[in-house]
Amino acid sequence: MKILREIFLFYYDGFRSMTIGRTLWMIIAIKLFVIFAILRVFFFQPTLHGSDEEKADQVRENLLRQ
């Protein structure tokens, strides 16, 4: 428990004492939000669906119909 607390305080103090880091973390947060909450959710859904067998069937059809 003590170790976990020390690890927490290490990161907590580190983040609190950052200067330039605050701007960077804001950029990272915005970037991750755009990538995961917008692009991933609305634009980058996997195109194969179902069980592994169903996915294999979809790929089989795609590859052999060409």
């Binding site: 960077l24 973390w25 634009f43 195109t47 590859l63």
Partner: protein, 526 residues
């Protein structure tokens, strides 16, 4: 049909654009990580030596912290830009993603897990741990961050190398995917080892050029002169080792490409007709109307190095190097004997046989005909190495864009040669002829200006290297097995176009932010 073609082109453009943006950040992380680790080691040695004057210790601490800050900025802005490539695999290239199975997935998963643990621990110690860890522990964390970043790159390059030269797998028609049969063959394939060494050493050179370039700016302004000289000393050595390593591994790459991807090598040199003692083109302009099967000259003008290509690709000045026409017609000469490789018409035929065998296998499986399944599977295995050629209607479709391979290759070689000359000169000047740093021509200090322009040169050179590697192997997503038109998902081009521009905006914003924050840090340095 037109929408499929457009979707392929937009998906390729999107992948190329995101990969190129990602590659702006990665080599700096790899190169600057090593430079910072060496700087901190020097600082630690000085700090632990009681005879070192305190001012000198402080100088090296300041140096280490400054470059570490720029390393952190680059890392923070660049982190996760590679994730979008994985999204694109799943959405735009789903046939490919499924088809490569765990061969591709396993290295990427290892990379993801490894990167997360390395970055969240050692990276945090590096930035938050100055007061909480001993100097030795802190220095070890910095080295582990640099080492972890390189190891992370290893797994990505293993995946890429497998696409260039697929090994250690069997195709399973039931699962419709390639199954890894030897992890060692995949992870330690000569292509992967060589590619890793080439990428890492070239990144060292790039990181070093960045440090020298920023230091050159301080010299130009007459600010922080001793800081700049010390930085150039470390970066000069790293850069020199890096660029020499890049040249050596580039040479082994050329030999590998001549064996595994001869079409790429022919395109890199604009070589249509093979010859013994083939010349290397130092600089040239391609004839844009040249076709592989006509008699026009391939070049409008060129400067040649006699027998250079034979030496480069086969380490023998009199060796035969096949051109595009020879490769298509299946002709090569090895050890003085003419041999027949498999010509492209036959490859197309065998690719179609393999695809028909797969159809037969599926039909036999449906009817639970085990003998039919065995026969079809045996036929598929026999011709599988040419599976992808079955998608082509004619041999022309299997030729990469010669111009898009030739020009980046020659730009890379010319700029790489500049980096070699500049970095060797830098080490000589900074250690032996310090007074030359202030040498002026018509009132302008020469060295600082050359230093400043070398950083963008290094980036262009690095990008060109990847363009050659990736465009030179077109039209293949997986060499000889899966062309891009088979790898693409059934996606509409509209969606891909839209996300292309979203990525363009996002990554350009990140790049502008990075440059802005870095410039502010550099200008405001106390």
């Amino acid at each position: 049909m037109n929408d499929i073609v457009t979707a392929i082109d937009w998906s390729r453009a999107q992948f190329a654009m995101t990969a190129m943006y990602h590659w702006l950040f990665v080599p700096l992380t790899l190169g600057l990580g090593l430079v910072v680790a060496i700087m901190e080691t020097i600082y630690a040695k000085k700090k632990l030596n009681p005879d070192t004057p305190q001012t000198e210790v402080n100088e090296w601490l300041d140096l280490t912290k400054f470059w570490m800050r720029l390393f952190g900025i680059n890392f923070a802005i660049g982190v996760a830009t590679g994730i979008v490539l994985e999204f694109e695999f799943g959405t735009n290239w789903s046939n490919y993603s499924w088809f490569v199975g765990d061969i591709f997935g396993a290295p990427l998963a290892i990379e993801g897990i490894f990167a997360f643990f390395c970055e969240s621990t050692f990276f945090a110690v590096m930035f938050f741990g100055w007061e909480k860890f001993s100097i030795r522990q802190h220095c070890a964390a910095t080295w582990l961050t640099a080492f972890g970043a390189s190891l992370s790159a290893w797994w990505i390059l293993v995946a890429n190398s497998w696409m260039q030269h697929p090994v250690g797998m069997d195709f399973d028609p039931d699962q419709m995917r390639n199954v890894m049969t030897s992890f060692v063959d995949v992870a330690l394939s000569p292509t992967a080892v060589n590619k890793f060494c080439h990428v890492i050493t070239s990144s060292w050179a790039l990181g070093a050029c960045f440090v020298i370039s920023v230091s050159g700016w301080y010299l130009l302004r007459g600010r922080h002169t001793q800081f700049a000289i010390n930085s150039i000393k470390v970066a000069g050595i790293v850069g020199m080792v890096g660029i020499i390593g890049t040249m050596i591994t580039g040479d082994s790459s050329a030999v590998q490409v001549s064996q595994d991807q001869p079409m790429k090598l022919a395109a890199m040199e604009g070589l249509y007709e093979g010859k013994q003692g083939a010349d290397l083109i130092g600089f040239g302009i391609l004839n844009p109307n040249k076709k592989w099967d006509d008699d026009q000259d391939a070049m409008l003008m060129e400067i040649r190095f006699p027998k250079g290509l034979s030496i480069l690709s086969r380490h023998d000045p009199d060796a035969f190097v096949p051109g595009i026409k020879d490769i298509i017609e299946g002709r090569d000469i090895v050890d003085g004997k003419e041999i027949n490789t498999v010509n492209y018409n036959e490859r197309i035929l065998r690719g179609r046989i393999a695809q028909k065998a797969l159809r037969d296998y599926n039909q036999a499986r449906e009817y639970k005909d085990s003998i039919g399944m065995d026969n079809a599977r045996a036929k598929l295995a026999k011709h599988y190495q040419f599976f992808g050629y079955g998608y082509f209607g004619k041999v022309d479709e299997a030729i990469p864009s010669v111009a898009m391979t030739f020009y980046p290759f020659h730009i890379m070689v010319i700029l790489g040669s500049w980096m070699l000359a500049f970095l060797l000169a830098t080490v000589w000047i900074v250690f032996r002829r310090r007074e030359w740093i202030g040498y002026r021509i018509v009132g302008h200090p020469v060295y600082p200006w050359l230093a400043i322009i070398t950083a963008p040169i290094a980036w262009v050179c690095s990008q060109c290297g990847w363009i050659v590697a990736e465009l030179g192997r077109q039209p293949w997503a997986i060499q000889d097995i899966m062309p891009v038109q088979a790898a693409i998902s059934s996606v509409g081009s509209g969606n891909v176009k839209l996300t292309f521009f979203i990525f363009l905006f996002l990554f350009t914003s990140l790049l502008v932010a990075e440059i802005g924050i870095m410039l502010k840090q550099i200008k405001d340095k106390k």
